[in-house]
Amino acid sequence: MTVRDIIDYLDAELLFGDDELLDQEVQHACGSDMMSDVLAFVKDQAVLLTGLINTQAVRTAEMMDMKCIVLVRGKDPLENVIELARERDICVLKTEHTMFCACGILYKHGLRGGHSV
């Protein structure tokens, strides 16, 4: 699926992302509020679902070469988050769904967990 599809499936609001970013193909995702766990276990996942709304969500995505961050539970990011995501070319979406439901919906549509290290 593409990032655009994720917006559709999760009724998400696009907080940052241009056309090129939205048309990116993504196949694997992970969901976590603990960034150390993402750094420890993620390998090739392109989407990060998280309730963490500070800049470290963007930095973690940057280190892991992720393309898209989905903020769950309807949370708004803190200041600087969108600015940093723009600098690093990482999409940021926001959905009202909880972590569990957002992951479930995307899984149902074919997004998978991928390999972990």
Partner: protein, 138 residues
Amino acid sequence: MTLHYIVPGDDFTRAGEASGDLKRKMKKLGFPSDVIRKVSIALYEGEINMVIHAYGGEITAEISSSEIDLTLADTGPGIPDIEKAMQDGYSTATEQVRNLGFGAGMGLPNMKKYTDEFQIESEVGVGTTVRMKVYNHS
């Protein structure tokens, strides 16, 4: 090439700036993506540790075609029991740090896991120095 970074101890939002910068520089230099990933993760965890435990510190990164050599030095409180600190899941981070997405007790284990050489020296009341090497296999 030698790079030097100062990690400010009082600004959590800036932790990761050094690793991001090094990552982009390594990309430009044409290092393989898995080597860049290992260096980025290890250094990022180190930066986070410096901010949440040690009031900041200094990073020296020496880049050659065969390896990336990282030295992270701080003058923080030091680690009383390194063996314990190296265990997966062991953390002395506060609830506040956990709310920021860290403190899962994976920082030092991650740094060791992603590097080819890992050394840590620490003295309580004096500080901690971590030395890490990642080999470039290409």
